[in-house]
């Protein structure tokens, strides 16, 4: 019995010591260092208006659907861009739902609203082409019509942004060159010049556009 009790005592005590050090001291130390060195980032990269209103996070996508704004990737986080329910569609490559969508119909065959309605790739491609004036067989950038893993992807590809630019310029009555310059300014390049892929931060881009022509 003695070895068993010794083991039990050591297990309980070591668990307590670890709990204090690893669950108390360690995260607190990271918190203190993060606060001292990178206070804005450690608090969530929040975008705050002059009056103190938090408008979102520079790292998280939020919903934009009007012609005046650049539009983020579609989102499967909760009911869309829900930052407390991050996630993707988790639909596989042979999913009919993912390809063709789900649309509830009434007895007459007309679309009706239903919480299970889901836009498939086909629907998203059609909507993207229509909204941005693309031809019926023009290829659509993959990121524009697929949902990201987090549902909160703040970026769109540069190609996607450039395709949306003429529409936004028209809706805002702003020269196309101005919009393009704002796209370049809102582009996060590859880390260290070669890691990852470049992306345009949609929320920052729309904020920048609002500053030149208030909505």
């Amino acid at each position: 019995m003695k070895p068993l009790l010794d083991n039990l005592r050591a297990s309980v005590l070591l668990t307590l010591v670890f709990a204090v050090l690893l669950c108390g001291v360690y995260p607190a130390a990271v918190w203190a260092a993060g606060r001292a060195l990178f206070p804005w980032r450690s608090d969530g990269s929040l975008l705050v208006d002059k009056d103190g209103t938090v408008r979102g996070s520079a790292l998280l996508a939020q919903n934009f659907s009007s012609d005046r704004d650049f539009q983020p990737r579609p989102s499967a986080a909760g009911s869309g861009y829900d930052a407390t329910a991050s996630g993707g569609t988790n639909l596989g490559p042979t999913s009919d739902k993912l390809a063709n969508g789900v649309h509830a119909k009434d007895a007459a065959g007309k679309d009706v609203s239903d919480p299970n309605n889901f836009d498939g790739v086909k629907d998203l491609v059609r909507a993207y082409r229509t909204q941005n004036g693309l031809g019926a067989s023009d290829p659509v950038p993959a990121d524009a019509v697929t949902r990201s893993g987090s549902g909160l992807d703040p970026h769109i590809s540069i190609q996607n942004a450039l395709l949306q630019a003429p529409r936004v310029a028209r809706a805002r009555s702003v020269p196309l060159e101005t919009v393009r310059a704002k796209i370049a300014a809102a582009t996060d390049g590859r880390s260290l010049g070669f890691l990852g892929e470049p992306g345009v931060n949609v929320l920052l881009l729309n904020r920048a556009l609002d500053k030149i022509a208030s909505r």
Binding site: L8, A33, A99, A142, R147
Partner: protein
């Protein structure tokens, strides 16, 4: 579009991995020797001594394998109980600003088993289930301890190989404490702060409510005053009402400290549901690169530790080489499949050059998503930066196969090395049979008892995966959790049990293991699979370590099969692949392989 840029990233990754292997391996030699000194001694040594004194541990007392095993099992059980009860009663505990309720018994059991076994399978959604206290104490403590225990077991097995005519294999408590204090904590402290610099959050604020730019309308079920959904006249369909959404609730919390250890300790349990795909956990390509590298760092260094301890560095590199070759092939296959994309979606208008972007983040793109998926399933990490469920069939087959090899391609911290040594013993046994000599491993005769232990491990793991997969596939509770139909649904089941037994923890995440109706089958079977995958592996391995330690060394002769060089590497890879492939090939054929051909022919489910 295998762009030159992707190749450059790959080259940098490989170079960085090779560069950390030797220095970190040498450091491990010192960490795992209770009498050795490290450069952290002035700071850490007093804490270490105090810990031993408080816990009544004699740090220099050597343990036999049975004693070592008892200590390990007791320690794991205590940790598991702690987690279980914290989760059950988190509503009565501090640091719960969201007022989240306690977890149901089966979900708490599943999660406790999951974190104790270094799996970090997450049946729950992090941001909407766990209080800060649960995340910080009940879960984070296992991120450290399960990793430290894994490394301790690996060290015990290596000692068993290295020692001769010995009765002991080290001290469990000393190994666990030293790995935690000298390796995991200091590295994580630095790593976490670097992650904060990239945008990973670290705070203790309640969730922030942001006023969004463009309100939009969603439809939610109408509820009566008691909170029950109101039904339409037919009594079945819920009545819907419009609800305007003009805010976004932003998750906050101590994320960076958890992300650092979840990667370095190959735990993989994310703070948020989307794990390393979430911009708060993995905001930039640089944070992504460091996270991928940190998954492989310790497992890779442990091969160097092995070579150093058995005084045969070429053997250590041979094991590394076998791991690396399998990693490289897996990455190549996954990367190519994802870059080619989905012909069904391309026929609907998606640009073919962009690859399969469903479930992937723009900042990572195809290459970094494929790299992360391969690395996280080679090692038993299980964090994901893209949704594996939405990978192409072949792209998704690679993670599945990686886990089914038993997580020996670098593998989990410690677990990868001891898992691989199981295959090494099997490989020399097969080689011995082929040339008709008594098999030897580094001067130790491999006898019937050793091979029986090895086969016990391999058969227990494979049988657990396949039996549970079969059961779930033909049961209503099993099919109820699926998010996809057709062969992909079967892949979701196979992936779940492969991940649980391998202690990986990644998922074809469409699977719902904790259904709304509270059916506990998934949670309980997965928890059982995780416990088998961890402890039915560790206990025979410690028995093997004890048995090997007691053997005499016999000098190498002309007939000795050498455990270094290309012949050994090829034989070792062959053993891993054949054991993995032969056992799981029929199941893989019914899942991803058949789905690949159906996708090519445009079939949808």
């Amino acid at each position: 579009m295998h762009s030159p840029n992707s190749w450059l990233q790959l080259a940098l990754f490989v170079a960085a991995l090779v560069a950390v292997t030797k220095p970190l391996g040498l450091y491990l030699v010192r960490v795992l020797d209770a009498t050795a000194r490290t450069w952290l001694d002035p700071v850490v040594r007093p804490v270490e001594r105090l810990t031993y004194r408080l816990c009544g541990i004699d740090p220099l007392l050597e343990q036999g394998w049975a004693s070592y095993t008892m200590s390990m099992l007791t320690f794991s059980l205590v940790g598991m109980l702690l987690t279980y009860f914290v989760l059950r009663f988190q509503d009565h505990l501090p640091l719960n600003p969201q007022g989240l309720p306690g977890l149901a018994p089966h979900l708490a059991f599943n999660t406790a088993a999951s974190f104790t076994t270094n799996t970090n399978w997450q049946s729950y959604a992090g941001e909407s289930t766990m209080s800060y206290f649960s995340q910080m104490v009940a879960l984070t403590i296992h991120n450290f301890t399960s990793a430290a225990v894994g490394i301790a077991i690996a060290a015990a097995l290596v000692r068993g190989v290295a020692r001769q005519s010995a009765r002991t294999i080290g001290n469990f408590w000393t190994d666990t404490v030293r790995v935690t204090y000298y390796l995991l904590v200091p590295f994580c402290l630095v790593f976490a702060v670097v992650l904060v610099s990239q945008g990973v959050i670290q705070n203790f604020k309640p969730y922030t409510v942001a006023k969004t730019y463009e309100p939009y309308t969603i439809q939610v079920p109408k509820t009566d005053s008691a909170g029950k959904p109101v039904m339409a006249a037919d009594g079945k369909t819920p009545v819907l009402v419009d609800q305007s959404v003009d805010t976004q609730t932003i998750v906050q919390g101590p994320v960076a400290s958890q992300v650092a250890i979840k990667m370095l300790g190959t735990n993989g349990g994310g703070y948020t549901n989307a794990n390393a795909a979430h911009p708060f956990e993995n905001p930039t390509p640089l944070s992504n690169f460091l996270q991928v590298l940190s998954i492989f760092a310790i497992p890779s260094a442990l091969t160097y530790y092995l070579g150093r301890m058995v005084m045969n560095q070429r053997h250590g590199w041979a094991v590394w080489g076998a791991m690396f070759a399998m990693f490289a092939v897996g990455l190549g296959v996954c990367w190519r499949a994802e870059q080619r994309g989905n012909p069904i979606h391309q026929s609907l208008g998606i640009s073919a050059a962009d690859g399969n972007m469903e479930g992937k983040e723009v900042r990572f793109g195809i290459f970094n998503s494929a790299l992360f998926a391969t690395v996280t399933t080679d090692a038993s990490c299980g964090a994901v930066n893209a949704m594996h469920d939405s990978f192409t069939p072949i792209g998704g087959l690679v993670p599945l196969f990686n886990m089914q090899t038993g997580e020996v391609i670098f593998g989990g911290v410690g677990a990868g090395l001891y898992g691989m040594l199981i295959f090494v013993v099997l490989a020399v046994f097969i080689a011995g049979l082929m040339v008709g000599r008594t098999p030897e491993y580094l001067g130790k005769k491999i006898e019937a008892y050793d091979v029986k232990l090895v086969m016990l491990v391999l058969m227990a793991l494979a049988a657990t995966v396949l039996v549970f997969t079969a059961w779930a596939s033909i049961s209503a509770w099993g099919q109820a959790g699926l998010n996809n139909a057709g062969p992909h649904g079967f892949s979701e089941i196979l992936y779940a049990y492969s991940s649980a037994v391998a202690n990986n923890g990644s998922a074809f995440a469409g699977l719902t293991a904790a259904p709304a109706d509270g059916n506990p089958h998934w949670d309980v079977t997965l928890a059982f699979a995780m416990l088998v995958g961890r402890f039915l592996m560790i206990v025979p391995i410690l028995a093997l370590a004890g048995n090997l330690a007691g053997k005499k060394l016999i000098p190498a002769s002309a007939g000795t099969f050498r455990t270094e060089g290309p012949t050994f590497v090829v034989l070792l890879i062959g053993t891993v692949v054949l054991v993995g492939a032969l056992t799981f090939l029929p199941a893989l054929a019914m899942g991803p392989v058949v789905e690949h051909y159906l996708m090519t022919s445009g079939t949808l489910f």
